[in-house]
C-alpha cells in the first residue's frame, strides 16, 4: 500500500507544536510524522519520540578492531623481523602499547562517525517532501500516512495556521480551496 507524504511548514515554534498536537488529536501516532528544523530543539519539544539508537555500540566495535590491527602490526613486525636494535627485547611491549593505543582510538573514532551517519540514516538519496525554507528557520512537519488519511492530515495541519502545506500532488494551500 502506497504511503503518501504531506509537509506542513510553520513560521514559528508555537504553531508547529500546535500542529503536532493537532495531528496527535487526529489520531496520528508519533511514528507517522517527523519534525524538520534548522537547529536542534530541546528533546521532546514536540512530544516524545522514540529515541532508541545503538550508537554506543559502534565505538566499542571500532576500538576492538583498531586494537586488533595495532596488535597485529606491532607484534607481527617484531616477530617476523627478529632484528636486534639497541639491546631491546625482540618483542618490546611498551612501544606496542603506544601504537595499539593509537589504533584503538582511531578505530573508535572512525566507527563512531560511521555510527552517527548510520543512525541518522545518512547519506540519504531517497526523495521525500522537503522545502528550502526549513533551513531558513521554518519548521516542517512531515506526515507519512496511508492515502485515505491524507485529507485528515492536511486538515489537522491546517488547524495550526501553517505557512504552506505541500503534498506530493503539489501545494495544497494554507486554507481549503472551497469551503
Amino acid at each position: 500500500m502506497a504511503i503518501r507524504e504531506v509537509l506542513g511548514l510553520y513560521r514559528d515554534l508555537d504553531s508547529a507544536v500546535a500542529a503536532a498536537d493537532a495531528l496527535r488529536d487526529a489520531g496520528f501516532s508519533r511514528s507517522e510524522f517527523e519534525v524538520l528544523s534548522n537547529a536542534p530543539y530541546p528533546e521532546g519539544t514536540f512530544g516524545e519520540e522514540s529515541g532508541i539508537h545503538r550508537l554506543f555500540v559502534f565505538p566499542l566495535i571500532g576500538a576492538a578492531c583498531g586494537f586488533a590491527a595495532g596488535l597485529l602490526i606491532t607484534g607481527g613486525t617484531q616477530l617476523s623481523y627478529p632484528l636486534l636494535t639497541g639491546g631491546k627485547p625482540l618483542l618490546s611491549i611498551p612501544p606496542m602499547i603506544i601504537i595499539m593505543y593509537e589504533g584503538t582510538m582511531l578505530g573508535a573514532l572512525i566507527f563512531t562517525v560511521l555510527g552517527v551517519l548510520f543512525e541518522s540514516r545518512l547519506p540519504w538519496i531517497g526523495r521525500a517532501l522537503y522545502d528550502p525554507r526549513i533551513t531558513q528557520g521554518y519548521i516542517g512537519i512531515l506526515v507519512r500516512t496511508a492515502p485515505e488519511r491524507e485529507a485528515r492530515a492536511i486538515e489537522a495541519l491546517r488547524k495550526a495556521n501553517p505557512e504552506d502545506i505541500l503534498t506530493e500532488s503539489g501545494n495544497a494551500g494554507r486554507q481549503p480551496a472551497r469551503s
Partner: protein, 241 residues
Amino acid sequence: MPRWGMVIDLDRCIGCGACVVACQAENNVPINTEDVYHQRRAIAWIRLERYWEGEYPNIKARYIPVPCMQCTNAPCEPVCPVYATYHTNEGINMQVYNRCIGTRYCAVNCHWHVRFFNFWEPKWPDSLKNQLNPDVTVRSRGVMEKCNFCVHRLVKAEQKAKTEKRSLRTDEVTTACAQACPTSAIVFGDLDDPNSAVSKLLAQAEQEGRVYRLLEDLGTDPKVYYLKKIDLEAAEHAATH
C-alpha cells in the same frame, strides 16, 4: 660466532692520521674538501680528535682516534624508523644504506658523533674514480654512513674460511685502520677469543688499570676499548673523558 672489538692504545698513538686516510681509501668515503670542512660536514669514519693540554709554552697535543664504538646496546639503533641500522649477531652496529631515508635521528642519538650524513652527492676527482673499492657500496646523497669495522673484509675472510672448510683463524682479518697504524696503536680482533691480540692486550692492560671506554656510564657497553697514556697528565686527561 666472533664478537668483534677494538683496542686503541693512546700510549702508542702519535696522531699521524694514517688510520683516517686508510679508512677513507678503504671505504669509499668522499673526499673532504676544504669548504666541506668549513661546513662541518666532513665525513671521517674514524676521526682523530686533538685536544690541547697545558698552557703555552709547555703545551701538549693529545690525540684520540674515534671510530664507531659498536655499542652492544646502541642508542642509535632503535630510533631508526626503517631498520636501516641494526645489530648483527657478530656485534657490529650495521648501517644499511638502501633502507636509510635520512631522518638523522641515529646521529642525534649517537653521543660519540661517529655517524655521518651525506649532505651532498659524494664526488671524486676523475683521477680517483678508478681506485674506489669494489667491495664497498658508494653511498648516495641523503643517507647516513658510519664505521662498520670494515665488514666487507670480515665477510670475505669468513667466506674464504668456509670454502676451505675451516673456522676463522685467530686475528686472520683486521680493519684498514688497524692495518695502517704505523705504531700498531689500533688492534682489532675477536673479544671472545682468549688468544686474540685484543683479548691479550686487554687482559694485560686490565692489570695496569689502563682500560677505559668513552661514555661508559651510559650503559651502552661499547666494544672499542682505550688504553690510557702512561703519564699523569694523560691519566687525568683521560679521566675527563
